[in-house]
Symmetry: C2
Subunit: 234 residues, 2 copies
DNA sequence: ACCTGAACACCGTTCAAGT
DNA sequence: ACCTGAACACCGTTCAAGT
């Protein structure tokens, strides 16, 4: 009776950005993203659609938010993995991390598709990639090769295709992204390290430094060479 | 003056499914899929939105159609490639075909995203995969390994992620798809051959025979092994 | 045969107004 | 501080009606 200001026993917990996003993830899990409308989301929360706008900016903000929630869930899962990753062990460590991410994504099959449409990058996603890059470094890869490796893994790393750092030739976006990463520097030791090294080699470069065609061919040739070896041994 | 029934010089060519789809591709190329609304499409064609429904069933039909138009464009492009593909030459042949497909897709960057959302499979896309499978067969791969190879190429084969033959555990869909493929048998010698062989080994299987987890791990390990070899030689 | 106008059920979103 | 009602500009789509 003395808890907060609820006049009824109907568990009148107030809305919050967090509660909205959690409900949104639930709606998407249940009926797919196409069922995630502001009006439906409000209904699930027992509230009018317009009330949502007090806690989130707009629908895009909701989509950014649910991607972040899922990426956080992945980070929680992979953070519980404790396996050696130094030297030759890098492969098992990367394999386990990626399969663990996939396992989470299977519960949110809509997530990769939504992730592809985001222009704002999720800080949780960036942290995930930083961890992956760290494992590659543990394996002894140079930043340059590790960078190619992330591209080669591509959709397999997080269940989606689009190149994470492909800002569509948008230099303003590049700079904003770079600034954002610099701000998270202590959370992203490897990505920052990679950027610094690239900046050292090519001072004019920003996050948009990579050549999509080159990365595509690198990944393609890696697969074709692997298949060719399979062919030779069969 | 004697051509058809045009009362004016304004090039009053009548609407047709083909013209609608071509215009739709143009709209998407210009402003992205999000700009492709029935009303806007009609405006571009100088017609009322409702007129479109005489030539296409609905918007989904338009999306199916524009995917098919692009896939046809890819098929035209790759059909002009003439390189040997027997034996060890398979790799160069596959490489060239895939890079050629990518080249076309760069002109229609919205296409992979739309392709992912389609539940009806495009016959042009299926024909593309049949050709790719043919090249793998030329290289001496068994149907079984070639099948894994297609999965491993995944998004790189056509610029999109989602497994082509993953009918979401929909058995009815599987059967419909299988029937559709059988009907195109003379156009799809390799896919049909693959299906027949699988049916021989496992009579109960349909197109849904493949285990997503197994295919994912196959492709992942191919990449990780390739990277590990790179690590060893550097 | 081909196209249209009016209408319906849905979107996301704004804004002034309620408590 | 938090929520809402009415309203707006957009969707896809149906259906009866025009030529």
């Amino acid at each position: 009776m003395a808890t907060q200001t609820q006049p009824r026993a109907g568990a009148r917990i107030p809305l919050s950005r967090d509660r909205v996003l959690r409900a949104a993830v639930g709606v998407a899990d249940e009926g797919g993203v196409e069922s995630l409308t502001m009006r439906h989301l409000a209904e699930v929360l027992g509230v009018e659609a317009m009330s949502l706008y007090y806690h989130v900016a707009n629908k895009d903000d909701v989509l950014d938010g649910i991607v972040d929630v899922v990426a956080e869930e992945i980070n929680d899962a992979v953070s519980q993995i404790v396996v050696p990753s130094k030297g030759a062990d890098w492969k098992k460590a990367v394999r386990e991390r990626i399969l663990s991410a996939r396992h989470v994504l299977l519960r949110h099959p809509w997530a990769p598709g939504v992730l592809e449409t985001r222009t704002n990058m999720s800080s949780a996603v960036v942290r995930y990639y930083d961890g992956l890059l760290g494992l590659l470094r543990d394996g002894g890869f140079s930043y340059d090769v590790a960078h190619h490796a992330l591209h080669a893994l591509g959709s397999r790393a997080l269940g989606f295709t689009q190149e994470l750092f492909d800002p569509d030739d948008n230099d303003a976006g590049d700079e904003a992204a770079t600034a954002m990463l610099e701000q998270m520097a202590d959370e992203l030791p490897y990505l920052i390290g990679m950027m610094r090294e690239v900046a050292h080699v090519d001072p004019d470069s920003t996050l948009g430094w990579c050549d999509d065609q080159v990365e595509f061919e690198f990944g393609l040739d890696l697969i074709l060479d692997g298949l060719d070896r399979l062919r030779a041994t069969s």
